[in-house]
Structure formats: structure tokens, C-alpha cells
């Protein structure tokens, strides 16, 4: 591991032996999101029927499934935007079904969500969008908030000139990056992404995957990612959850390829699935 951080004229002294001995897999196997027996339904239509999942600290979990299989609904249930009909969702040790008031807000500050098209506030500039959670939830001085916003903009790979722009002046990829910067404003422990690479060109999608991977590594994030993008799955996901027929099946890219369920087999062993797997390995 090479770090080019230099302190004045003296290089940053890093205990090399310790750095190397850091295990590649997350050292904390505890789960930050636990879903047990989740049932959701809309107007009699059952979307999830007894879904169980554990998201482990420090991993990148990709959720796939056919259109309309309830991937986004699962994400919305985890962040508390919709109320499940049955089941428990525990995020960072708190049951979100029973959490109310200030404790709920405190928990929400520990999770960041990136919606499909960024969901930036259209009347605010990018920098102001990032300032919103910082101003609302912290007592930092204004100058430090500006500085934090500037750093977050740079961390998600936006040029400094993007700070003063309005969302309608940005391209789709830049809007997603700006939305990511806002989701990261409060340094959340969990990052939930709803189709982060949808609508991006392959180069932009690959760059976004790489960005999420490096942020996840740098900030020690746990990432829960709803996606359709096989390349994302192969490139950055540690585990994959497949939502099929109202149930959830969790595995790795390799193990899921051995599945006999026809939808899962088609998904991972089709031409695109094989190509992504080859590229990923």
C-alpha cells in the first residue's frame, strides 16, 4: 500500500507492517442492517413475502431483480420511507418500525441515500445542496461547512466549478455525483444507492463504480446498492442478493451462477452475465 501523503518535508510515517497485515476482508462481521420476515404489499399486491437479509459492516451488497420485483421498495423500506406490512428492519441496532422523533432523525443522519436521478433540490446550487444536512444537523461554523462541502465535491470527482451550478445545469452523471456528495455530507456509516449507474454511458458507469469502490474503502462505508448493472456487480460487489418471486436469495457472483432457478440462471449465465463475470475476474 503506497500513500503519498507528505507532512511538511517529512513523509507520513506509516507502520508498514501493520498496514500490510490489515485483512482484505472486513474485520467486523457484525451486520449493520438486519431484515427479518419482511412483507410489503400495495393494494393487495404482495411485493415481498418473508424477506430476510443481513448486510455486514464494510461490505458492498448488490441487489438485483427483474423490473417491478421490488428492489427499490426494499431500499425505501430500509430507509423508512414506507412501512412494511409485517417483519422487522433493524438498522445499526435500532428497529426502525418503533423508532420515532429525534432518535429516528439521529439514525437517518447515519445513513446516506442516493436516489436514482440524484434528487437534488432544484432551487439550490450543488454546494448549497450539500450544506443542507450539515446546517440542519450540526453546529459547525459556516466557514467549516463551506470547506466540508468543497471537500465532498472534490471527493466525488466533480470539478470545483460545479459547486455554484444548479442541478438543471449539470449532466445526468454529474447530478448523480452531486447527489452522492450530499448523501455523504454527514459521513454516514451506511450508503444506500438506487441504481447508481442507470442512465450513464459505460465509461461514466465504470468511473462511478470505481468512485463508489474507492469511497467505500476510504470512508469505511457499508454499501447497499440496487442495480441492474452486471458490470457493477462484478466490479465492486462483495455479495449479491437476488430478489425473485417475492423472496431474496444471497450469494456471490460465482455461487449464483450455479443456481437452478430459471430467472437467476438466465440473468447470470446469459451472454451479458458471462461477459461481466469474465471482465470482473
Amino acid at each position: 500500500m503506497t500513500i503519498d501523503v507528505t507532512i511538511t518535508d517529512t513523509p507520513l510515517s506509516i507502520p508498514r507492517s501493520e498496514a500490510v497485515s490489515t485483512p482484505a476482508l472486513p474485520a467486523w462481521p457484525d451486520s449493520v442492517i438486519q431484515v427479518r420476515g419482511l412483507v410489503t404489499q400495495f393494494a393487495g399486491h404482495v411485493v415481498h413475502d418473508g424477506v430476510d437479509i443481513d448486510v455486514r459492516r464494510g461490505e458492498v451488497l448488490g441487489v438485483v431483480g427483474a423490473s417491478g420485483s421490488g428492489k427499490s421498495v426494499l431500499l425505501r423500506a430500509i430507509v423508512g420511507l414506507i412501512r412494511p406490512s409485517a417483519g422487522r428492519i433493524v438498522v445499526l441496532g435500532h428497529d426502525i418500525g418503533t423508532l420515532t422523533g429525534s432518535r429516528r432523525i439521529a439514525l437517518q443522519a447515519r445513513t446516506g441515500v442516493l436516489f436514482q436521478d440524484g434528487a437534488l433540490f432544484s432551487s439550490l446550487t450543488v454546494a448549497e445542496n450539500i450544506r443542507v444536512p450539515l446546517v440542519e444537523h450540526t453546529d459547525l461554523p459556516s466557514s467549516l461547512i463551506d470547506e466540508v462541502a468543497r471537500v465532498k465535491i472534490a471527493m466525488v470527482g466533480l470539478p470545483p466549478s460545479a459547486a455554484a451550478k444548479y442541478p438543471s445545469q449539470l449532466s445526468g452523471g454529474m447530478r448523480k455525483r452531486a447527489g452522492l456528495a450530499r448523501a455523504l455530507a454527514l459521513d454516514p456509516e451506511i450508503l444506500l444507492l438506487d441504481e447508481p449507474t442507470a442512465g450513464l454511458d459505460p465509461i461514466g458507469a465504470a468511473a462511478f463504480d470505481q468512485l463508489i469502490g474507492s469511497l467505500q474503502h476510504g470512508l469505511g462505508l457499508t454499501v447497499f446498492m440496487v442495480t441492474h448493472d452486471l458490470d457493477s456487480l462484478a466490479a465492486i460487489c462483495d455479495r449479491i442478493a437476488v430478489l425473485n418471486d417475492r423472496k431474496l436469495l444471497v450469494g456471490t457472483l460465482e455461487s449464483l451462477q450455479q443456481e437452478t432457478n430459471p430467472w437467476i440462471r438466465d440473468y447470470f449465465s446469459g451472454r451479458r452475465g458471462r461477459a461481466a463475470l469474465q471482465a470482473g475476474s
Binding site: I7, L144, V148, K152, S168, G218, L219, G220
Partner: protein, 383 residues
């Protein structure tokens, strides 16, 4: 020596300030951490008179996030600027990647704000605003032309008229407007009669309340109330509907399907408004006169029969019909501006709101200006 809340332990050696970070350097402690770092004493110079060094030990730091890493860098930069080199030691392996990422991001140069030239900017703003207004006026006139040609096309070829849409909009802008318009017109009639009665009673000329009501309502008030309510109710709805379609790219979709938004969206709305506005005006006039008659009966004991008989003295044919001449013109203006502003919506939901406000303000403004023109015109040609 402990400074505050166990975030930083300060000891001093010969020529070196030794700082040991502790606790968590995160968003929640950032305010205290800023104060703590600001309060750290400057290192004493060493034996040779060289400026003192700072050694910052991160070995006991429990938690670090981007804000903590950023404050660390700010402290390093500030101390270096004061000629106190900072040596950071014992960085924990789980913090290395974070510090690396944040520090690299913090190196990005902020965009310097434009140097301010107040006078120049003020002059430029005035010029830009003038140009924008002129351009908007030209565009509005050209849109007026487009609406006229589209209307003409429909008149020449009535099969192109979307009858369902026309009836739908007549229902929404006309029929559903009746309750609110009736209530407000009635109240205006009541108020006019009340105020007129107060003044005219002093002269013993109570009966002339009827003349006052008849002339003012039929010529001016009825149509103005109608136009203002229609602008606020239907003009704004036109802008919001078309604007939302624009944001949704539905207008683009129409064009690619070979459908003319002008014919499909604008003509039915404008035509519906032009058809129902005279009817609404007539209705508003009658209800306002009824309100005035009720009030006259209560206050001045003028019976309905007397009211109607008296009314026929000052009111001629033109007094009763000028409002019907104005109504389609006002309807055209309100409908046209509502659709025009809707088609100008771009990008965001905020734009829909801004355009809707603009559409209402502009159409009421134009209605009142046009009304003044009509007054002058009618008095010149003696009708």
C-alpha cells in the same frame, strides 16, 4: 495537561510540542475539536532559536471521519504557515485511506469568486433586463401570431378541432368556475350598493344607486372580476399543466409523434376560454346586480320591480354589451399567456412555479391595461 474533552493531550518537550489525539474526531465533536486545536499553545523555540516543531500522535484516535481529517489538515497547514512544521505519527491503518482521500480532495483549488465591479454590474444588469424584456415582448407577439394562425387553421378546417379537449376545458374553466365567481360577484354588488347608498343618501338621491350599480358593474366591474378570477384559476392551471408536461418531455414526445402542441394543447384551451368568458361575464354581471338589488332593498327599501324599472333609464344597448366585446379579447390574452409561460418552462419543478406566478401577474396586468384602452376607445367612438 489535558485541554478539552480528551480530544487532544498536550505535553511539551524541548523545542517540540507533543500532541496526542484521542477520542473521536468526527462530525459530532467537530465544534469542540475546532476550539481545541485553536487553543493548542504554540511550541517554544528550541535551543538554537529555531521555531519549535509539533509532533501529532494519532495512535490513540478511536474514530476519524472526513470532517476530522479535514480539521487535521487545516491544523497542519495553519501551523506550517506559522513556521511550525508538523510531524504526524502513528496513523492507524484504518485511517490511512480516509486521510489520503480527504487530503487529496482538499487540494482541489476553490474557484475564486469573480472580482466585484458594482457599478459595471449594475449597468450590465439594467441592460440585460431591458434586452430580456424586449426579447420577451417580441416572442410573445410571435406566439400571438402562431396562436392566431393555429386558430385560423382550425376555423378553416373544423375537423382538426379537438372537440373532447375543447369541451373538457370549457367544463373546467367555465362550469366549475361558477360557484366562486358567483359568490365574489354577489359580494362586490353588495359592497358597491352599500358604499353608494351611504353617499347618495346624504343628497337624498338614493334611487341613483341603481344607476351607479348598473353602469359600473355592466361596463367595468363585472368583466374585471371575471378576468381576474379566470386568470388566477385557469391561466395558472394552463401554465402548470403545460409546464409539467414540458418538464416530463411530453411536449417533445408530441412533436416526435408528428403532433402539433399548438393544435393539441394551446388551441383547445384558448378557444374554450374565449367561448366561456362572455358567458361567465354575463353571469357575473347578473349576480353582481342581484347582490346590489338585495342590498338596495335592505338599506333603501327599493323593491326589485323599482330597481329594474330605474335601471332601464340610464342603461342603453352599448352599456349592456361592451363587456361582451371585451370578454373574448381578455380570454385570448389570459389563455395565450397561460400557455406561453407553460411552454417556456425548462428543467426543474421550481421553474413551473416561477412561470405560473409570472403567467398570473402578466395576464392580470395586461387585462387591466387593455381595459383602460377599451375605456378610452369606447368613449372616443361614443358607445
Amino acid at each position: 495537561m489535558t485541554v478539552e474533552q480528551g480530544l487532544l493531550n498536550v505535553t511539551s518537550e524541548e523545542g517540540t510540542l507533543v500532541l496526542a489525539a484521542a477520542g473521536s474526531w468526527t462530525l459530532t465533536t467537530a465544534a469542540a475539536l475546532t476550539r481545541t486545536l485553536d487553543a493548542a499553545p504554540p511550541p517554544l523555540p528550541d535551543d538554537n532559536g529555531q521555531p519549535g516543531r509539533i509532533r501529532l500522535d494519532l495512535g490513540q484516535l478511536d474514530a476519524l471521519d472526513t470532517v476530522g481529517a479535514l480539521l487535521l489538515r487545516q491544523f497542519r497547514d495553519r501551523s506550517r504557515d506559522q513556521n511550525h512544521p508538523v510531524l504526524i505519527i502513528n496513523v492507524r491503518p484504518e485511517h490511512i485511506a480516509l486521510i489520503d482521500a480527504v487530503w487529496r480532495a482538499a487540494e482541489a483549488e476553490p474557484v475564486p469568486p469573480e472580482p466585484g465591479r458594482p457599478l459595471y454590474e449594475a449597468v450590465e444588469a439594467v441592460g440585460q433586463a431591458s434586452l430580456k424584456t424586449a426579447r420577451a415582448a417580441v416572442e410573445l407577439i410571435s406566439f400571438f401570431g402562431q396562436v392566431c394562425t393555429a386558430l385560423l387553421r382550425v376555423v378553416m378546417n373544423p375537423r382538426r378541432l379537438r372537440l373532447t379537449a375543447l369541451v373538457y376545458h370549457m367544463d373546467h374553466t367555465g362550469l366549475r368556475c361558477l360557484p366562486i365567481l358567483g359568490l365574489l360577484s354577489f359580494l362586490i354588488g353588495v359592497v358597491l350598493a352599500y358604499q353608494g347608498a351611504e353617499q347618495l343618501r346624504r343628497l337624498g338621491a338614493e334611487i341613483y344607486v341603481v344607476n351607479l350599480l348598473g353602469l359600473s358593474i355592466l361596463r367595468e366591474i363585472g368583466i374585471l372580476i371575471t378576468a381576474i378570477i379566470v386568470a388566477g384559476r385557469s391561466g395558472s392551471a394552463f401554465t402548470a399543466q403545460i409546464g409539467t408536461m414540458k418538464v416530463n418531455q411530453e411536449i417533445d414526445a408530441l412533436r416526435t409523434l408528428g403532433l402539433d402542441p399548438m393544435e393539441l394543447l394551446v388551441v383547445p384551451r384558448v378557444l374554450a376560454l374565449m367561448l366561456v368568458m362572455p358567458l361567465l361575464t354575463f353571469y357575473a354581471n347578473m349576480v353582481a346586480l342581484f347582490g346590489g338589488a338585495v342590498m338596495s332593498y335592505i338599506l333603501l327599501d327599493i323593491s326589485f320591480h323599482q330597481f329594474i324599472t330605474q335601471m332601464r333609464i340610464p342603461i342603453d344597448f352599448w352599456d349592456a354589451t361592451v363587456a361582451m366585446i371585451k370578454a373574448p379579447v381578455f380570454a385570448l390574452v389570459i389563455g395565450m399567456i397561460g400557455c406561453y409561460e407553460g411552454l417556456l418552462v425548462s428543467g426543474s419543478a421550481e421553474s413551473v412555479g416561477r412561470r405560473t406566478t409570472k403567467s398570473v401577474v402578466e395576464s392580470i396586468f395586461l387585462v387591466i391595461v387593455l381595459n383602460a384602452f377599451f375605456s378610452v376607445l369606447f368613449s372616443t367612438i361614443h358607445i
